[in-house]
Amino acid sequence: MHMYNKAAIVTAIAVLSGSTAIAGCGVDSGRVSIVGNEFPAIHTVANGAMACADTGVTVTANLTADHQTINVAGMQGNPAEYTSAIVASSSIVALMNEDVIRPLDDLVAEYGQDIPTRQLITINGKVMAVAFMANAQHLVYRKDVLEQIGVEPPKTYEDLLAAAEMIRAQGIMQNPVGGAYAAGWNLAEEFVNMYFGEGGALFTPGTAEVSINNEQGIAALNMMKSLTEYMNPDFLTHDSNATSAEWEAGNVALMNMWGSRTGVLMDAEGSTPEVYENTMVGAPMTVGGGTIPASTLWWDGWTVAKNISDEDAVATFLALKNGVSPSILTDETMGQAVWMIDGYQPAPVNDGVFAAMAMNTTPYPMLPYMGLLHTALGDNLAEFLQGKESAEQALADVEAAYTAAAKEKGFLN
């Protein structure tokens, strides 16, 4: 914690002093108010934007893990409380559904010609967000443990199960597999990963009708159940944080984990050298003989609110453009994420995310009704993993719960 704080302060100072050298960001008036998730890379972006604060320009940031529960409400007013929300592949949909963010085409044309095209997220031909980092879940493994049992890092989930069995049989670890399987959002995300790996499609194409109660859905659930047999029995309460803690405690040798969270596992903090020196990242795994990895690609980016004055919109655009400009990349910030910014130099910790992109991993779907399905999945899969009901029943429950919710929200009749 202390190290982290120090790093944050150093970053802040570096960014602040950097901004005086640049002499402002071309903003001379307006209000910038940012809401976003809370992790190191987003702090860096927000600090970069705050460097634009000047006489006549106020820049504030509210970074919290609960950003999703406040961003829609905070942008619905007129004028909106937040002039910008930092979003990911899934959360932009909630803002689009409520029509609270504005297209950025005009602003890009006037002020953002130098933003690389690959960073622009376009929906229906309109630029709706500017991405600054990529993320995905992929294999994380303990080199020493795999060497001890004499196997290569697994490329498929079937290989991972075989390796887990060997680790258990040789008495190295009782529960060698980790995973964020906490009932709710995390469990749903793991199902989406596995289902895409099996080659499934979540909806009947072009409609909001869910179709997951099929061969791929059952195969995905069965694979998840096989994995849980090698996990800590408390797996339904383990979110990403708890899973990372299990890793740092040295209880786990193989897991599927977010790229943005692996840096913490490989640093010298919160663990012993035996663990962090042997922590390696690998490509995301495939499943069931498929070629598409059982994972999803995610981006993080920033948006500009709709219900604000044009002056504030320009100020917000310029401040956040500065927040994701090459000037924010320092030795401190380079390893925080897979930055989509010019001048970024990848480190070994980022290999997993790059492999995920190279292997054509499916991007997390940006569909208006995806959030409802994600919630329904998170609520209804635990009973199968507990052995209380069949895979078919669990999937039928998900479909029924989703359909009821989609009717209420007007997506289905």
């Binding site: 408390d234 995806m370 929200k409 007007g410």
Partner: protein
């Protein structure tokens, strides 16, 4: 009291109740009777750093007109109340007609979110409330008979579980029952099973949630009973002693009847509170094992797409549930009042 004086006396609190209880209640009832407009979905191409994909989005211009005309949404009557997420009338009828025996019917009912939540909520309410009353009474009698000098610290420590924020209190217990926590390890040693995990077993999780419930609310019953014990008529107690009544007989025939109205009061408050059980489920990450109506409301509002109508319907059902639960006690109080 004169009517006019009475009116001025209750006016501030009536106004506050109107503003903070009645209007919000009307608002959730109205909300629960409406659902969102039909969304006009259009096919679009999305381009991100990962390439372009065919996707869909809501046609905002087309839905804008609908929203302007009826900002509350579409009137749906009781549809939301009857759907699968709530009373699930259709599913219940289907289970009733198709079930093979009571066991099958029961398991089909428990597969529906509302009835699953009700099963835990009612079990929790009817186990925790009596235990709270019993423990609260025992602690009160014990503290009351302790030496005067140590009573202050004793009262403070007895009240601690109630003073601690529920979310924090339950988190502390959650860590203690972890397989590597102090209670978790102790249970493993007692059971002689190193694989035993409280968090992985539904019955153990239910028991732990109820243990937490009693631990957290017993101090409330204690402090009410303790206050009541100070008003027990000492003359009656002394004459009972002279008559040769034992300590147990004094409690049974003098103290308990005296404290009965207080018991009604505690039962009322506790039934209401326990029916709304929420914090321990979140802190224990217990949603895979136990859910409650309050948790369902939280879950509806916590997703990326907020389900306001669903949450409103569950809220109204919670209010109705509390009313039904309290009705026997309220009817009794009303009768007692009328007798005087």
């Amino acid at each position: 009291m004169k009517h006019k004086t009475f009116l001025w006396f209750v006016l501030p609190s009536s106004l506050a109740m109107l503003l903070f209880i009645f209007f919000p209640l009307v608002s959730i009832v109205v909300q629960s009777l409406h659902v969102a407009h039909d969304q006009v979905i259009v096919s679009v191409e999305n381009c991100t750093l990962f390439g372009c994909t065919q996707s869909t989005m809501i046609d905002q211009e087309a839905t804008e007109a609908l929203r302007q005309g009826a900002p509350l949404g579409r009137f749906a009557g009781l549809t939301t109340y009857l759907d699968r997420g709530h009373l699930a009338v259709g599913e219940v009828a289907q289970a009733w007609n198709g079930a093979q025996g009571w066991r099958d019917f029961g398991s089909q009912m428990l597969n529906l979110p509302f009835y699953k939540a009700m099963a835990f909520t009612l079990t929790f309410t009817f186990i925790v409330t009596p235990l709270t009353i019993i423990f609260g009474f025992i602690i009160a009698v014990a503290v009351n008979s302790a030496a005067k000098r140590i009573r202050g610290p004793l009262i403070f420590f007895s009240l601690l579980p109630m003073i601690i924020t529920p979310l924090v209190g339950s988190l502390i217990l959650f860590w203690m029952i972890d397989a590597r926590g102090i209670i978790g390890s102790a249970l493993q040693a007692l059971a002689g099973n190193p694989e035993l995990s409280v968090k992985a077993s539904t019955p153990m999780m239910w028991i732990m949630l109820m243990v937490y419930g009693v631990w957290h609310t017993a101090p409330f019953a204690f402090i009410v009973y303790y206050a009541g014990l100070q008003t027990v008529n000492t003359d009656t107690l002394e004459s009972a002693m002279i008559d040769g009544a034992s300590r147990w007989q004094r409690i049974r025939y003098v103290v308990l009847p005296h404290l009965l109205p207080l018991t009604t009061f505690i039962a009322l408050i506790q039934l209401m509170d326990n029916f709304r059980v929420f914090e321990p489920i979140v802190s224990f990450a217990a949603s895979a094992h136990a859910t409650s109506l309050s948790w369902a409301i939280y879950n509806d509002l916590g997703g990326e797409t907020r389900q306001l109508s669903s949450a409103a319907a569950t809220s109204v059902l919670t209010v109705l549930g509390v009313a039904i639960l309290l009705s026997p006690v309220l009817v009794r109080t009303w009768r007692d009042f009328g007798r005087r």
